[in-house]
Every structure is written in C-alpha cells, then in structure tokens.
Symmetry: D2
Subunit: 342 residues, 4 copies
C-alpha cells in the first residue's frame, strides 16, 4: 500500500531532507510539494541534488488538493505554520516541523515566541513528537509537533536521568554546539561562509534560546516539579550536527546504567561504553543518536554527551519516524541509512 | 537470495564506503572484513559511524575462508592488491578498487606505477570497470578493475565526444578539482586539516598524474588512434567530490546532443540543460554524475564539466554497480540514495 | 608626516581590509569612515575584529568634511562608486576599488556592466591600478582604478608573456579558482556556509565574467592586437585566495625566464622554481603573489599558475600600494606582513 | 639596537608563527633556525608562506653557535625541550613554548606527563609565562615557560575572579572549544581534513587533559587553597582559535567589574560590554584576547567566555611578548597587528 504525502515548505532544508528520506521509503509517494515563494519552479531548480527524482512541481499551498493526501508534513517557519495548519482539512494527519505546537501552555508559547497563538484548538490536540518518549500518543495522533533539534538532543541525554532521579536536578548545565544548517536557508550575515567558516561563538546566551521552553516543559513534567537547566548554544563551522555536552552531578555508572536500560530496545539511540565521547561526524546524515557518559575527576560529577544530525534525527528524520507510526508503517522504514563519513 | 560478500581493505575510506552502501542493499550480506593492520578490532572501533551495523570483526586476509563467499571487493593499496588477488581462489568473483588491473599493457603499468606487474595472468583477464561503457564484459567477468576516480570523471565527460568525433582530439584540456578523501586515510602532512582547509593548489602537474595512463589507454582505444589530453588536478578543501572542467574545441550543441544520446538510458548519468554548470555539492554521497555543456564566447570552443563523488560513483559505488552486474542483480540496487545536501 | 585618510564603504570586506592594513601603516591615519547603511555605528560593532583600534565612527558620506583629507579610498559597489566619486572635490586623490573606472572605453563599460557610465570625465582621467605595470602613471594620478581581483591574478601570470610574445596569443585558457570573500558581504543563498562549504562549481561560464573586459583591454593593449582568452572562474569553499591556472602554448623555460626577468625587482611578486606550483594557503592575508611555471608532458605546452589573496593583493593591498605611490611614501609601507598559515 | 634571535623547533607551527611575528618586529633579527628533522632545508621549503623572507637555513641544534644569540625561543616537543634547554649555555635567555617548565612541582609534572623531569635545575628557575600576571618576574627571568594555550585562555577568563573571590571556587566548569592547529603538525588520523572537517567532539574527557595541571597550580595559588575546575576540551573544525565557555556562580555585574578593573591597562585583553559573547573569528591571527560576561536566567549564575588565537596569544605571541620584556623592548612591539577577518 502506498501512502500519498504532501510537504509544505519544500524549499527549505528540512523540506529537502524530507524529500531525500522519502525517496528511499518503500511505501510513501510524494504527491504535492508546497512552497509559496518558489511556486512554479521544479524541485530540481530549487535543489539540484534532487534532480534525479520524479517529483511534482512546487505549487502554492492554496493550489494543493488535500483530498487524496494521507499525511502532510509542514516544514514552514513558525507562526506561518499555525495559520496554515489551522486551515487544513481537520481530519488530515499532520506532522509539523515548526515550533508552533511544541509548547502545551499558550502562555509559555507567548513568552518564548512573542505572539499570541493563532490556532489554539490545534495546539490543544497536538502531541509532542519526541518519538522515543511519546510513541503511543504519536501513533494515535492527528497532529504531531516535531521537537526543536537542540531540544531533542538535550532530552535524549537527560530525560531518563531526570525521570530516574540519578542526577541533581538543580545543577544541570548543557553546553551545546550546533552546526549551521539548523539556522535554515535564511539570508543572514553571520551565516555567510566568509563570516562563519573559520570561527565559532556562543549565541542566545544567558538562557534566552527558545528551545529552553521545551526543556522547561518536558523536564519539569518528567521530574514532577519545576526543573530549569542552564543552556548555552554555540555555532560551529560545520553544516550538520548537534553535540550536547551536559555537566551533571551524579554517579557516572548509575547514569550509564539508566541510559542503557532506557534505550536498550531503541533502534536509533546508541549508548557508548563508559568513558567514550561521541562525535557529530559519526551520525551525519543519519537518524542515529550517539550518547556517551564520562566520569569526571571531581567526585560525584559526570558528563553526558549526545550527538545527532539536526536535519535528520533532530528534525526531518524524527518527522518521518513519527509519520511511520501515524500511518501504521514499521517505525524504522526509510530511516536506517548509515551516516556519511567522511 | 542473499549473496555473501567479503571486503578486503575494510579499514580505508573506500572499504567503509562499501560497507555503507551494502548496508542498504537488499540481497548482499557482508560475511568477512579483512584489514591486516587493524585485525582484531571491530568495525565500530575503526569507523564509529558504522556502529549500528551488525558486522563481522576485522580479520587478517589469511584468516578468511573464501569458500562461501560469492564476491570479494578488494579495497587495498595498489601493488598489495595484485599480490593478494593472485593468491585468491581462481574462480572467486573479484571487484578490485586499486590501480593494479586498470592498464591493459604491462609496460604502461610499469611506466606509471614504477614496478613490474606481479599478477600478469589476472591482469590479462581483468575487465575495465567503467560500467556504462563495459556493461556486457563486466556482467560476465570474474575480475573487474575499478577505474581511477579522476579517470571516471573525465571519461564520463569526454568519452562519447571522442567516439563521435565531435571535438578536436588534439586540443583537450582537463582542469580537475578533487576533494581530499580521494587521497585516502593516509598520514601525510598536506592532508592535515590545518594545512589543507583554507587553501588549494595544483598537484601532479605537467602530465604526471597516474590516471593519465587510463585516459591515454581508453581515449586512444575509443578514437582508434593515439589521444593525449592535458590534465591538471587540483586539491580543494572539501571531503568528497570531483569536478572536471574540460576545455574542448567543437560545437556546444553537437556536444550536448552527443552526450544526451549517449546517456539517455543511463540511471546515474544526468546531462544538464545547455549552459548549466554542475556542482559537486549536488552529487555528494550519491552514485550520480552530473554533466554540463557550455558554449564559450570564443567561436568553436566549449566547456564540458562533469561532477561526481569520488568515493561513490568514482570508486565504491561504481564497484557495487559492477558487482550487481556480476551477480545478476538489478544494476541500481543499493545505489539510488539521494545526495546529502546540505 | 601623517596623511589623513578617508574610507568610503567601510562596512564591506575591502573596507575592513583597508582598515586592517592601514592600522599597521607608519604614516597614515584614518580620519573618516563612510558607510551609509551603517552610519551611526562604531567600526567595532560592524567588525568586532577591529575593536582594539581607535577609529572614527561610521558616518554617511555626506557628513564627511573632505577638506583635510589627503587621500580617499572608495570601496563602494560599482555604479554607486561613479556617482560618489563624481561628487567628490575634484582635486582629492582617490583610489577606487570598484569596477567603475577600470575600462577605458565607455562602450566596453556598458557592454560588461549594462549601464551608461555616469562619470565620463573621471573615467577619462583614471589610471588603471595594476601597480607593477602602471607605476609611473599611478604616482602622478589623481584617480586610480583598482583592478578586478581575478583580473589582477591573470595579468600577473600572463602579461609579461604576451608582451614578450613567448606564448600563442590565440590559445590561452585560464581556469580560475576563487574564494568566497571576493563576492563580498552580500546576502546571497549560494554564499551561505551550508550551501558553499562542501562543494565547488564553475560560475559565469562561457566567457560572461565581467573581468574579461579587463583582460580583453589590457592583453590587447600589450599585444598590440586583439587578444581574447577563454576564462572560467570556479567558486571554492575557502575565504581568501585566487588561483589562476593558465594553459598556454610556448616553451616552459622561455616562459619562466620571461617572468623572472619581469619580476626580478618586484617586492611582492615571487616566481617559483620551474615545476613548482603555488598554493593560495601560502599568500593568505598578505600582499604577495606567487607564480609557478610547469612544463607539460605534451610538447610545446606549459602551465602558468598564479596565486594571490583577493582581498589583499587583489584589492585592498593593491589599493594601499597605489596610495603609497600617490602620496610619495615607500611603496611597500604597511604591506610587508607575512601570510597567515595555518 | 638589534637583538639576535634563535628559534629551535622552527619546522612546527609555533616555530613558523614566531618567524611570522618576528618578521614584523623592529629590533629582532633571526640568526639561527634549528630543526633537527628538516636540517639542510630552507624555511621556504618547509613553510612556503615565508618564502619572501631572508632567513638562515634550517640546521641541527648542535650546529648552532649560541655565542652571539641574545635570546632563544624553544618550540620543541615536551620532554625533548627539557633535554635541549639543559644543554644550552646557562646564561642564555630562553623562552620555552613546551610544557616542560610550566609546573612548579616535579611530582605534578610527573603525574601529568608521565616521566621524571630531566632538568630540575632549570625547572627551579623557570618563571611561568602568563605575561599579564607575571610581568615583573618575566622581565628579570632567564628562562620563561610559555603556558598551555588552553591554560592561558581559561586563566584570562577566571584568574581575576578567583583572586577577588567573586565566584564560587568549587563550582567552576570550563567547556572549551579549540581549533586544530593546537595539535601541531603531527601526523594523526583524527587531524586529517577528511576526518576532522565536518564534525566535532570532546576529547581528553573527565579531567584528563594535561593543562589541568596548570589550572590546578595557578588557581590554587591565587585562591590560597586548593581549587579544581571541571574542564572538557572539544576539537572543532577550524585552524586557529580557542573559546573557553566558563560556567560560574556569582553576580554577573561583579564579575564584569572585576575583569574590567583587572584588565583596564592591558593592551591585549579586551573586556566586552555585559551580555556580549566573543568569537574566535575576531581575534584570529592576532595577540588579542576578548572576554565576555553574561548573566544567566538562573539567579546567581553567569558565563565568562574568553577567545584567543592559540598560536598567537596562546603560544608564539605570548612568547614574543615575554621576550620583549626580557630584552627590555616595548612589550607590544611586533604584536599589534589586527586580526585577519574574513
């Protein structure tokens, strides 16, 4: 059986990544590609690396007939996404990759994103899309909210530890290094090759990055009480990858045991042997997440380091994994490709 | 039906790339991985990006029992390869990725590689592995010699043009830009990140690059008379990709028509519209080759530019394509993955 | 004696490079920085790497009092530059870094740039700024037109050879590889790190690059008859550097002798021993140009390869060198810093 | 007056960086270049970017006549350095760039480096070379021990804060990101461009990095009681730069005030306005160190982020700054060049 798929926002990086992944999927067929700003162009013109595929031309979202669509990926900017999704057929299965439906509390949404939410009914029904922790809800959901890519990385490292109470909840520091494709195809001076390629820096410093809204929501939910982490992202000169270095207080062996148990049946999460640190180069282009645990020389302290590809496991791969669940397809279908190295 | 596969030289980049590709192949199973210098280690230790795969441990080549192997990829350094292949079971199907069996003439081999050939019987039977032009011979071959990655790129651009006589055979200049993985995992000062990453230069200048042996052999064969191209490779700071900019004398439209006709049924070779130039970023990690033709402002001159991934279409992807033919599997099996961009 | 300097267009890369160079100059002082779009900001805000310098704030060009200025660098976009320069005090010494005054013939200007020239009087008096070949004219000029960075590179390689008649004038092919800072700080999709960093491609193919206007003008002038070269630039993932690989017909030794003689007294042009190829990494951040000559295996053919830093010798360094001449300062003052490697 | 300078270990990156800097120094002249493994070669052969300089050829250290040398830089590997320096004339002024004389306690040296110290007398007299904090001792020293590049970065961020008691001494976490040239020109697989360029990872995890020996020594000395920081370095795909992100407990404003006061007269240390984060791209190739202070959203927590160039301020620039002091030259001589950006 073939499922008909629409992708809205096909001219961005997460849209292109969805096309790349679905091209290798045995039972999905892309039947509509929406991209208002590039409507009328072919995908080969917008993304020449997809030239070999037989794809529908880009159209405006208004032009799409959703009647035969089984599932729609929405890879639009936040704020636009909520408006578009509110106007879609109410029974259409949707996986949203924007930030619009991640936060359960409209006040939290407004705090982090600045505007009132314009699709509260959809926000109400949306399921948080961190597959490994919301599998059942996702399988029966109509609307799934893909997580932030940084938020996914940090949660893979810490969520089981917070749930198990093996680390000090008030002393969590997450130093995150992310690659540039996470910023999308937007024209900003600091994303130019000449600006970015030979340096690196912290940004959204001091606890101002929006993905903190997700950390606060999810970690507090898991802990059963408010949890706030200290979180500093850095931009490094590479295209794909997130590395979250988490400084925690707890016993390294207990931490490792907890993670191994939490992920033992997971196809995409790989916990490394004690003392081994993961690298973004080893998950590049794949849906895998590598997690390492290290005991520090200072008694009672440990590192938990997680690495994943922001465009795949952090975004479009996660979205496809969720779509598989929603369409009752094998969860790993189309997602088992090996990383690209070198 | 599952075919049992051995890979010799599994600790190098082309070996790892074979594993990556075969991991997505529906009817091949890797049953032996040979790597003398890293025998005893697991593939996950040598290449952590392959950690998720269930693979045999690395062993010395001597330890491998070839009796159940259907096909053996040999990704060893040249000179070593001929010695190893001479000692393999004489009826074992072999795809060699080294330079050892590319040149038909032992004297030419000695001229370009410096040593006498140590496996003349095997050299005699070897078929040149440029799939699109030796398909039938490869399908029935026991031993196939994978081409040089630069040699493949240049031939895709020029071979049909030389055959058709639409360009001046004495005025071919090929300026080639290649990425660093083509040099392998060897420890050389000029391959260090600190040396390479912010500059670029020509190397093997003046007609001294060994792949010229292949160009001379193949272009002369196709033309029916001696053809020598002027060829200068450059090393650029990227990991994957070859771009061959070929300066030719001939009519651009006739050139385009010839290439379109030659490749119209080819699944992996894509000829771009007249005037469009390909980019290595659009074939990265894939088995595709993009070719562009441009008319120059100077009457009677044209550019033919070809781009491919040296590790895939230029080496391990080509090898798998040939293995598919040799094992009577669909030629494109395991090779249709989309490029990775960004 | 200290010379008061103004820089117009200080918020672009060539403007910043001028500031970097002049900061190490013993007798120039920057007294005005014009940048209409960023007026009101400090240079440290626009270019934090210049934070340690005591510089005037950015102002609009209209706000600048030119009465005390000894020389003005104009690092504005072409077309804007001609308008601004036409309105400057008529006796103010000006070094223009744009394309506006490079072409002697207004018709040629219109052909390559599309618009009628708006400052014909100034165009008439401008001197072409290729220092090594126009030294005397520059020393007495009021307005000097900085050359194109690609145009400078190609001329350093070929100009003495064309003048001496040691190469075939109808068979010159220049394959050029340039780094991304040459495109300036402009917000274009293909200049984003995620787009550019892992691939490379030819652009302005087929003889459409505007620097061909300079090659045609200067090579024809030197040869005493029309000369057209075939020229293809490529964009490579690095920030600084141009490498011009020139394919010529002529005797390699005669070519080397000609270049050595032409440049023997030049402080910035270094001719390498026969057979050695230069690299952009070895001139990075400096005002040097390295030139190599290689004999090809094909009789009567040779390579001439030139490397320079597009922002320094190709633009702002050249401009300062010319300004030194115009102000009767030692030509090399402020320009002898060593390249930055690694 | 001109001072005669010898550089031992001239074929490594710090040796080359010394040559680059001294080439712009008004009163130093390089009269001997030692490099045992490359003796007999010219510097232009080993480092073509220094081709324009008139330098002595490389010789073995034994061949150098130290009688006319005023100061010797020793840029050799640790362990070799102590042996060489022990054999130098006992009154020769020496700036050592290795790790051999950084630790005051021979037991600490053995703990971190594994071997007994072979030059205890010299170790006894050596002065720790963190210029801004040991200025007087350095001025009168015969032997100065250059600091680790990571150790310098972390100390610039934290040393005044520990001295002033404005941060919690038991809760210091330093997450450091360093570029690849810090690893030197050594042939290691993980330093190859193909391995490093598209990923990043933590290394020497868990408190095993040798520069911790310096942090322990210096921070404990300043605090007057034992201080241990948690320190994790990461390798990122860039050539120059160290970014130390320090997570501390204390009041951000008090921290900023303390740093501003400590560094107000320092020519090379620039403290940014509150809330601003430095970038390695803005100190590249220079002797400057930028420090930013950020208040976190969590009450009582702050970030202190320091950026410098490991080869310049972190190593060879620091060494030259110290040599200036030792030779009674203006401390900033030869070191005020602006960073190279882009």
């Amino acid at each position: 059986m073939t499922h008909n798929i629409a992708i809205l926002g096909a001219s961005g990086y997460t849209g292109a990544e969805l096309v790349r992944l679905i091209a290798g999927h045995s039972s999905m067929k892309i039947t509509a590609l929406g991209a208002n700003s590039k409507a009328g162009q072919t995908m080969a013109e917008v993304f020449p690396h997809l030239r070999h595929l037989d794809l529908p031309a880009l159209v405006t979202i208004d032009e799409i007939d959703f009647s035969g669509i089984d599932l729609c990926f929405c890879a639009l900017p936040h704020k636009t996404s909520q408006e578009v999704i509110a106007a879609l057929p109410p029974d259409l299965k949707v996986v949203d990759l924007s930030a619009d439906f991640r936060l359960r509390d409209p006040a939290a949404y407004k705090k982090w994103y600045g505007n009132d939410h314009a699709a509260l009914a959809q926000q109400e029904e949306a399921v948080y899309g961190l597959t490994e922790f919301y599998r059942e809800e996702i399988a029966s959901a109509r609307l799934v909210a893909g997580t932030g890519c940084n938020a996914a990385t940090g949660q893979f490292a810490l969520r089981p530890l917070i749930a198990a109470g093996v680390i000090d909840l008030d002393e969590i520091i997450m130093d995150l290094k992310c690659a540039v494709s996470g910023a999308g195809r937007s024209l900003k001076e600091n994303l130019l090759h000449a600006e970015l390629s030979e340096g690196y820096h912290a940004y959204s410093v001091g606890g101002t990055h929006r993905h903190l809204g997700e950390f606060d929501q999810e970690f507090s939910k898991v802990a059963g009480r408010p949890v706030q982490v200290q979180f500093t992202p850095h931009l490094v000169p590479a295209n794909r990858g997130i590395l979250a270095t988490c400084y925690v207080k707890g016993d390294a062996q207990a931490i490792l045991d907890t993670l191994e148990k939490a992920y033992e049946a997971e196809p995409f999460i790989k916990v490394l042997p004690l003392g081994e640190a993961p690298s973004t180069r080893h998950i590049r282009g794949s849906n895998f997440c590598h997690i390492g645990v290290v005991r520090d020389r200072i008694e009672g302290r440990a590192l938990v380091i997680a690495a994943l590809d922001n465009l795949t496991k952090g975004s479009s791969g996660q979205a496809l994994q969720n779509a598989n669940l929603m369409l009752d397809i094998e969860e790993t279908e189309g997602l088992m490709m090996a990383p690209l190295f070198p």
